[in-house]
């Protein structure tokens, strides 16, 4: 860079040709370019040399790496082994997996588990980190000191120790399921078997409701534009946000009722003799059965009596019909007992044996099952209302938990440790972000007459977010990568699944290529989404 190849001189060129050529050759730029080309050549040949060395070693290790199904050796068969039977079980799966499934399915189970921890982890970390960061700035001495110690503890001990401590010291020393800890009486149950939490279950009519929600979001935007134009035209302030929210709630509620009324997939099978023609008749039937005038008087009966009188409901295992129907029964105050069957024909058999009063399932299943009954015309299928989304709340039933969803101990420990650790990291970032907004901004906002909520929402947070988001992206990426630590406590994430596959099939190189690719894709996905958000909130400079 420092010297130019041919300096323009006033004198005519007297130097001989070879001198000019040499001058060009020894120019720093030319040398640099030659060096860089040499570098590429070295890299290409280096990779080739490593590849040859690797291939030789692979062949010495029994040629096992690249064997095709017909027994020949070819590099293009590197991933053929993914089709063969995995032969191992995975404890925590989101999609069905048995040990006869092929390797690629086990790998997919691992990838889904990694994504599950990553996504839930990032969402929860945002809450914990923001909360702790604000707590660090609290004017309450006790709270700010508590947050300080939390942050210091998290930042100065290794994540792996925290994972081990939470897994062995907290989760595995928790009581058994029948004595599960229930904090503050909320429907959360912590036990040795993990954490049981309430969950929501989408029924088949949820699609209609979701369409309504999308409609609501669209109208929110459209209404916002219309109102802001009117504001500009007339100068009259209008509360755009509240109006939009209220309109959204109205549309959502409308959608709720419409989707409940329109959908007719859920049904009940009853005998004609039971005189149930619609769901509300169940109440009369129960009154008849118990001999009471009103269901409120159920309290006068003993627990055993209630158990005897309870409506016996046959359902299929893990069906949305169960949560839907039982939630309606709970609302009506009707005592019920549920009998779950694995297959429809088992449920029908129970129903035919009169072990249960009603059989709740989707209408198509019921119609098919009714055809198999001896006296098909003696049974009715009545429609039941179907809410688009139903709460499923865990309840104790003997030694088991029913309803809700269960987080396995390994998942709980990993998620908890990741969230606590990165919450501590994020807390410092949030604190720095809030402190970076100068005091004058807040004072100016107060001087303008904004209230505290407006001050935070319009002045402080947008400016703090600009400082928080870039390092926050780093935290999210680290969290996504550190899900791989789950292997230490046996959580079957992608890494653990790949490691098992590696050990069983001996395909080390292939699996590492897959692992790296997936992690890169995950990192890329996270950073694309978060960078898009960063671009959106970035300060627009002139």
């Amino acid at each position: 860079m420092t010297q130019s190849p041919a300096s323009p001189s006033a004198e005519p060129q007297t130097a001989p040709l070879w001198r000019t050529v040499l001058g060009y050759l020894f120019d720093v730029r030319v040398l640099g370019v030659l060096g860089q080309i040499g570098f590429i050549v070295v890299v290409v040949f280096g990779v080739k040399a490593i590849g040859v060395n690797f291939a030789e070693n692979a062949q010495k290790l029994g040629e096992s790496q690249f064997i095709c199904r017909d027994g020949t050796f070819s590099y293009r068969c590197a991933y053929d082994f993914m089709e063969s039977e995995s032969g191992f079980d995975i404890s925590d799966t989101m999609i069905d997996h048995t040990n006869t499934d092929p390797y690629w399915r086990s790998f997919a189970v691992g990838v889904l588990n990694t994504l599950k921890v990553g996504i839930f982890g990032v969402i929860l970390t945002v809450f914990v980190g923001t909360f702790a960061g604000i707590a660090r700035l609290s004017e309450n001495w006790l709270i700010s000191k508590l947050a300080l110690w939390y942050v210091e503890l998290m930042r100065n001990t290794p994540l792996l120790i925290q994972i081990f401590f939470i897994y062995f010291g907290v989760i595995l020393t928790a009581p058994n399921l029948d004595e599960a800890i229930q904090p503050l009486g909320l429907p959360f149950f912590l036990s040795q078997r993990g954490l049981n939490i309430p969950s929501i279950q989408f029924t088949s009519s949820a699609a209609i409701w979701l369409a309504f929600l999308v409609l609501g979001i669209i109208q929110f935007q459209v209404l916002g534009v219309i109102l802001s134009r009117r504001e500009e035209r007339t100068g009259q302030p209008s509360n755009r946000f509240s109006t939009g929210i209220i309109a959204f709630i109205i549309i959502a509620a409308l959608g709720w009722f419409v989707s409940g009324a329109v959908s007719e997939t859920q049904g009940l099978m009853v005998t004609k003799g039971s005189r149930i023609r619609e769901v509300n008749d169940i109440e009369n039937m129960m009154l008849q059965r118990t001999g009471l005038n009103h269901l409120d008087e159920l309290d006068s009966l003993t627990e055993d009596e209630i158990k005897d009188f309870a409506l016996q409901v046959c359902v299929l295992e893990d069906s949305a019909s169960e949560t839907n129907f039982t939630s309606q029964l709970r609302k009506m105050g009707i005592p019920y007992r549920v009998r779950r069957s694995d297959r429809p024909d088992q449920a029908t058999e129970r129903y035919a044996d009169e072990k249960c009063d009603v059989f709740a399932a989707t209408k198509s299943i019921l119609a098919a099952e009714r055809a198999t009954l001896e006296n098909a015309s003696g049974h009715l299928i009545i429609p039941i209302k179907e809410n688009p989304v139903v709460w499923s709340i865990p309840t104790r039933e003997g030694l088991n938990m029913v309803g809700g969803s269960r987080m396995k101990p390994e998942f709980t420990a990993l998620l908890l440790a990741l969230v606590l650790f990165y919450g501590g990291t994020l807390a410092e970032i949030v604190r720095a972000g809030i402190l970076s907004v100068s005091k004058g901004q807040s004072e100016a906002a107060r001087a303008l007459g904004l209230n505290e909520g407006q001050r935070l929402q319009l002045i402080v947070l947008p400016q703090a977010l600009r400082v928080i988001i870039p390092p926050g992206i780093g935290v999210a990426l680290s969290l996504a990568k550190d899900t791989s630590l789950g292997i230490a406590i046996g959580f079957p994430d992608m890494y653990a699944a790949s490691y098992t596959i590696m050990n069983q099939s001996g395909r080390v190189l292939q699996m590492f290529v897959m692992i790296m690719l997936v992690y890169m894709l995950i990192s890329l996905g996270f950073s694309v989404v978060l960078n898009w958000y960063n671009e959106k909130i970035k300060l627009v400079e002139r």
């Binding site: 860079m1 720093v28 730029r29 640099g32 370019v33 860089q36 080309i37 570098f39 590429i40 890299v43 490593i50 060395n53 690797f54 030789e56 070693n57 692979a58 010495k60 290790l61 293009r76 004017e139 309450n140 001495w141 006790l142 709270i143 508590l146 503890l153 930042r155 100065n156 001990t157 290794p158 994540l159 792996l160 120790i161 925290q162 081990f164 401590f165 062995f168 010291g169 020393t173 503050l184 990568k481 550190d482 791989s484 630590l485 292997i487 230490a488 890494y495 490691y499 590696m502 080390v508 190189l509 590492f512 692992i515 790296m516 992690y519 890169m520 990192s523 890329l524």
Partner: protein, 555 residues
């Protein structure tokens, strides 16, 4: 606007009269509907929690609630008398400033107290401390068995390393501690100038200390004298000397030249003599364990990743004249055409869609050419460094560690066995240096362009510019971040336990599966957490001192 003025005047008059309940309520509870709901919810939760705590720890709850009430009364008296004592003012400002804060103080106070009592019961009241009584049947039901830490101290310190080597570990430890002490003493302002020679010796010892520590901790094998090796080393040092002289780092001196060239053969001869003396017989490196292994890995990574990261950062920032487009494109297109000659055959034999697509692999060459041209403007120094850094940063550390251990045998000729710590250190160093490079790049970017231009104007060459102008400023800016990286490297060295090394954390598996200490995991995790905490804390406080010395953040 008129109502506003009225209300302020009213406020002034009312405050002069005495305590105003209306204003108090408006400030604390009824100011807005969400404030009211928040305070109400907080009150309910606090009351609920206090009752629950009263059932488990009645005495503690009564004491805390009483103290809380006394505090409130003190603040109220202070308010009433319009004169606060120092203590009641502190209480008012820090703990009891508003209704929601008063409630929060009680809630958090109870929470902390119950956690403290739980920890006290487990850690001290119900715990045993006898190192001899740690067997499963002697472990207390709901308390810690601290005896294991004393009982298993050898395993915790050095793992399964044989006792015949312990004197070497101790000597190495004392060597390092002595070096620290000497450095500290000789850098005191009083002695700084008087001990110039001593300081040079100490610096030389620091440079040699990796070799000395290696001799102590890994040992030297008894091998025949390698003349060619000694001479090659001398030649390499000569080349380095020439390079440094050419780049004007050192002036030319005959004595210096001879000393430099002779260093390698002399040191090699000493090394060979040590190997022949059989005092420092080689240790099986796989036997390293416990805190020793953690310290070896962490310090190697810290020492190696800083220079490597610096090189990577400088390479990424480099603005050398790139390969011009008129070379990239013809070469790229030529290579692509050459590659496509193999496509027909590949297409003919491919079995499915993926393989058919893969037979068009030469397109990748074009893509790479495009990448080099457009993204890096032909600058391969910056391009290669950027790609390396981004590749490493996108995968988890544990992948690199596993890869080091599982794939290393593939890249060497068959039959060579490599001890586990080495590939782990290499993988970890690559990982750490990629992050270090990004940190240092942050510092480089913070240096204003004028500094570069000024040093160019002074006629500095690139090396001088970096050495005297840019790096001192850039590194000073990022000291906190670099020390943060060091702490991270120290903490994350615990990950090697996952890949089957018995470091300070991994040795836990050995201890808790020993029948003598069966199942004693949590005690060890608490102890290890404390040790890591202490180490990180020392490092960060040293960093704060360094920052103060170098005046980071000041102009």
């Amino acid at each position: 606007m008129t109502t506003h003025i009225e209300s302020t005047t009213q406020q002034e008059t009312s405050s002069s009269r005495g305590f105003n309940w209306q204003l108090f309520l408006q400030d604390n509870i009824t100011g807005s509907w969400y404030q009211a709901i928040l305070v109400l919810a907080l009150a309910i939760i606090t009351a609920n929690y206090a009752v629950g705590q009263y059932e488990t720890y009645p005495v503690m709850t009564i004491i805390i609630v009483a103290a809380w009430l006394v505090g409130i009364v003190m603040v109220m008296i202070g308010e009433g008398r319009r004169h606060h004592t120092n203590f009641s003012r502190w209480l008012k400002e820090n703990l009891l400033s508003s209704v929601s804060n008063i409630l929060l103080t009680l809630l958090v106070g109870l929470l902390i107290a119950s956690a403290f009592i739980g920890a006290l019961q487990w850690g001290i009241l119900n715990a045993t401390f006898d190192p001899a009584a740690t067997a499963p049947e002697l472990q207390p039901e709901d308390g810690a068995t601290w005896g294991v830490i004393v009982g298993a101290r050898k395993l915790l310190a050095t793992g399964v390393l044989g006792p015949e080597y312990s004197w070497r570990v101790w000597t190495a430890l004392f060597f390092i501690l002595g070096m620290w002490l000497l450095t500290y003493i000789s850098s005191r302002p009083v002695l700084k100038d008087k001990l110039r020679v001593v300081r040079n010796v100490i610096n030389g010892l620091w440079l040699l200390s990796p070799v000395i520590l290696y001799i102590f901790l890994a040992g030297v094998a008894n091998a025949p004298y390698n003349f060619t090796g000694a001479l090659t080393g001398g030649a390499v040092l000569l080349a380095i000397y020439a390079l440094l002289w050419w780049q004007k780092v050192i002036p030319f001196r005959w004595t210096g030249l001879i000393a430099t060239v002779a260093t390698w053969p002399v040191l090699y001869t000493i090394w060979w003599a040590i190997g022949n003396s059989e005092t420092f017989t080689p240790i099986n490196v796989d036997e390293w364990g416990g805190l020793l292994l953690t310290l070896i890995i962490a310090s190697s990574v810290i020492v190696l990743s800083l220079p490597l990261g610096m090189v990577l950062a400088l390479a990424r920032q480099s603005d050398v004249f790139g390969i011009p487009a008129w070379i990239i494109w013809p070469a790229g297109i030529g290579a692509t055409i050459w590659g496509f000659t193999s496509t027909p055959e590949l297409l003919a034999t491919s079995r499915n869609l993926v393989e058919q697509l893969l037979s068009f692999w030469p397109i990748m060459i074009l893509a790479i050419a495009y990448l080099i041209h457009r993204m890096f403007k032909g600058n391969m120094v910056s391009g290669a460094s950027t790609m390396f850094i981004e590749l490493i940063r996108s995968v988890p550390l544990i992948t690199l560690l596993f890869m080091g251990i599982n794939m290393a045998p593939f890249f060497f000729s068959a039959g060579t066995s490599i001890a586990k710590p080495w590939p782990v250190i290499v993988g970890y160093t690559l990982f750490s240096s990629a992050y270090m490079a990004e940190t240092i790049r942050g510092g480089l970017q913070a240096i204003p362009n004028g500094q570069y231009e000024a040093s160019d104007a002074l006629g500095f060459n690139t090396l001088q510019k970096m050495r005297f102008i840019i790096l001192p400023q850039a590194l000073r800016i990022v000291i906190p971040a670099i020390v943060g990286q060091f702490i991270g490297a120290f903490k994350s060295s615990s990950l090697v336990s996952i890949v089957g090394l018995f470091d300070f954390l991994g040795i836990n598996r050995v201890i808790s599966s020993n029948p003598q200490w069966l199942g004693l995991r949590v005690e060890l995790y608490v102890f290890m957490g404390l040790v890591y905490f202490l180490g990180s804390f020392l490092m960060s406080s040293y960093s704060r001192r360094l920052e103060a010395q170098l005046g980071v953040g000041e102009r």
